[in-house]
Subunit: 500 residues, 2 copies
């Protein structure tokens, strides 16, 4: 029973790391919600100290020694076996990069962020280009140090999506192009009226908030173990499965962002709330991957929140909250408004159908940069050509083009595809849930979400990081990730909406 | 220059401790303001981990070795000299108690808190008594381990008020009794009408908040480096001098608590905001002692906020906010209302004049308990007799008597006198400021507080913990602490108010 002692010591060490990470998350949440501006300097020091203490423990010889002692000692199917496996992966992830490279990356991104803000403001790509070049070179180094067999992108995507490869991402996008580009073209030919007009006007913030809170309560968000505050850039964070913090932002002249943003963040939040209680203070207490997490936010935002059954129940309450604005708008018009397809320049404002083309073009640009076949100077031209090809529009400047996202200046490469993985998996999981409980659509029409929430809890939420993403997808849906259900969903939904 | 390296290492270690303490404060603030109830269990773990990491570093051999190397190396008048002196004191304070005693104390208070809540609810002293006995025994052990020459109380008061003794506290109370009991008796003989009536009614919370925020902005509270939130038990905390958090609580039927509570917490907050920037992340970045801190909250709450000059400026704006409630109440009536003297059972609701008798009787009871001349069973009888003697009223039950305060069950002995030290020093400092700048009362009448705030900043705030409390009092006011100015203030103010 020597390994029992080692396991207990390991769990205590991991609990300390988990507590320190949680403390860091509280400080970060506070910084983005309530902290007075004067606090920024000392808060940076506090965050830095907590990061250092986490890093020391996450990369310690003690941790490695404990994991070595436990190597092969536990049944990999058990929770403890999974704990050791995930702790080992996190340790390798935390130690594979040289301290020197981590330091240079951290220093470069800290410096580049301000440059990017300035460059985006003025649309000045040449200002940003040399810094992006430095980041691309660092990304290549990172890929080398993580190691890969076929392509550096494999090493990078593996951080957020363990087990996923560039080849799989390419396959996914190829299928999506074939499956949805004709649909988009057909819709593009009909463009005329702006269908979104009913969503613009004066919408009292308190009423927007009230509606959003009521909706996600019905979804199953547990207000006893979570809350919602306001933030400039909405996010979801958590300090345990029992303390989940949503944030949102209200536009008093536009109904859509807060409404769907609230549902989106609640999807992330319910995932975290659903993680099994006995995983508390362990590395298993988190979502399985970025793509899996996004599948849960998209499922509630799009598959539920932008569906017709949902609004057959909730449109009357919404009209009651905003009678002046919506009394004269019928359900079909409203449903068309929230599902309007319109090629646009900005990814974060894109509709369900065009969204993936935004992430695709970024993926393609990243591949070119990593392979060295695309020079940073040429990114805007390539970007704009792809926007023209995929969306039929041309960005008037780089602020609305290649400079719009924070990701690259933050050192986040191989991240954009996880959004589309989320879209694809959302449909796959929703279909699996409906296959198991065919009454779900009718329940949604009644404002009831217990069966759907229960299925997600049982098949996804509770497992936390216990299973690898590909394994979890297979267990939950009975199939590996596949695009066919997603393409089918888009064709059916938008075929009806645009009478194709 | 060997000591330069040691000093830098010391500062880095103290900065880490400071950051961890700040993180703990953020978590505590969040727990008392926004945390959903479900988060309590995991938050306790997180706080426990941070406490442990603070304790490990605060008691480490490395810290002791660094301080030993620096012993006698630095000019004690310099900031660095003060840093080493205070760090040494904190180290001794943190290490003098045995781990076993700290553990037993922590375990006992954690357990007793729930008992006290229950006992207070039902007025059940016998339920609480055995637990108080355990705490008194622990307090005696603590006093022994800290060490003292004359009386165990000296060891305990020294924690919050370095350099203060039981004899000084007794002297202070003796003078206050002689100076104020006759005044109180004379006022008691006139009692008839309830002067506080204008403060009761319907007072919109948002307007109460608006008024409080505007007032403390005028005081000099820097909203760029602080904010205010709501809490059930209002407090002030800070995560650096640049991030100070006030909390308050609004009673929609009673104007006084939030109004004076806001000024009180802002007094604490301005003290923390005023600490010199170069003390950041060091143990010098805090108030000098509990009594000194309280002097600043009381100064703004009472010397300013309950003064006639203040209201000559601010009463019209208050009336404008609450015209229905106050338009018919003239300034003199309002001034009498906020300074009504009324013997009452509850310390935290006591007026300026009777307040010190509440802390005195607790001090006397604590002495009896520590000396073993008073048995815990007999506390309510002694308590009630003292309330009758000092205030002329008798508590109908122990909920309104000996069970009202959280302090004893939290293990806070020798704490109550610091409130009265604060009252005494508030007047001493205010008088010193006016002696230096005689225009201050007239400026207050104009709603201007810059000169007063500047004097406090210059003479008290900026020094943080650099000087010992007795030293700071002497430097700021030119005299050791003395009760005469305070007694004189009370006699003058209440003599006029009650036409004595």
């Amino acid at each position: 029973m020597a390994h029992t002692a080692a396991l207990n010591t390991l769990k205590a060490l991991l609990a300390t790391i988990s507590d320190l990470r949680a403390a860091k998350s509280v400080l970060s949440w506070d910084q983005q919600t309530y902290m007075p501006t004067g606090g920024i300097g000392t808060r940076a020091n506090q965050m830095g100290t907590l990061s250092r203490l986490v890093h020391e423990r996450s990369t310690s010889a003690e941790l490695r020694s404990l994991l070595d002692q436990l190597d092969g000692q536990l049944d990999p199917e058990t929770d403890d076996g999974a704990l050791v496996r995930i702790a080992r992966r996190d340790l390798e992830h935390a130690t594979k990069l040289s301290a020197d490279l981590v330091e240079r990356m951290s220093h470069t991104t800290a410096m580049v962020d301000a440059v990017w803000v300035q460059a985006r403001l003025t649309g000045d790509w040449p200002l940003f280009a040399p810094h992006l070049r430095a980041i691309v070179e660092l990304q290549r180094e990172i890929a080398e140090q993580y190691g890969y067999t076929t392509h550096p992108f494999d090493a990078l995507i593996n951080v957020d999506e363990p087990g996923t490869t560039k080849a799989q991402i390419e396959q996914m996008y190829a299928e999506l192009k074939v499956g949805t580009l004709p649909l988009m073209k057909a819709i593009g030919q009909q463009q005329g009226e702006d269908r979104t007009r009913p969503l613009h006007g004066r919408f009292d913030e308190a009423r927007q908030e009230q509606f959003g809170m009521e909706v996600i309560k019905r979804f199953g968000f547990d207000w006893h173990r979570g809350r919602q505050d306001r933030a400039v850039h909405p996010f979801c964070t958590n300090f345990s499965m029992n303390d989940v913090r949503l944030t949102t932002r209200f536009d008093p002249t536009w109904l859509a962002p807060a409404m769907f943003g609230t549902m989106h963040e609640a999807g992330h939040g319910m995932y975290e709330q659903g993680v099994a209680q006995h995983f508390t203070r362990s590395p298993l207490a988190a979502g399985c991957s970025m793509g899996l997490h996004e599948s849960q936010s998209r499922l509630w935002e799009n598959l539920v929140g932008r569906s017709r059954p949902f609004w057959e129940y909730f449109y009357a309450p919404l009209q009651n909250l905003f009678p002046e604005q919506l009394q004269a708008v019928d359900l079909d018009t409203f449903y068309r408004a929230i599902n309007s397809v319109q090629p646009s320049f900005i990814r974060v404002e894109a509709d369900e159908l065009t969204y993936n083309l935004h992430t695709l073009l970024r993926f393609e640009v990243e591949l070119g940069l990593l392979e060295g076949t695309l020079a940073v100077e040429d990114v805007p031209a390539v970007w704009n050509a792809k926007v023209a090809e995929y969306l039929g529009i041309t960005p008037p400047n780089d602020t609305l083009g290649a400079l719009q996202d924070v990701h690259w200046s933050a050192g986040l490469f191989a991240y954009f595809p996880t959004y589309t993985i989320g879209n694809v998996l959302a449909v796959q999981f929703f279909d699996a849930a409906v296959a198991a409980s065919p009454a779900i659509p009718e329940q949604i029409r009644q404002g009831e979400f217990g069966t759907l929430h229960g299925w997600l809890n049982e098949n996804i939420y509770q497992h936390g990081r216990k299973y690898d993403p590909n394994d979890l997808v297979l267990r939950a849906s009975g199939r590996p990730m596949e695009t066919a259900p997603y393409i089918n969903y888009l064709k059916t939904k938008y075929g009806q909406l645009y009478k194709l």
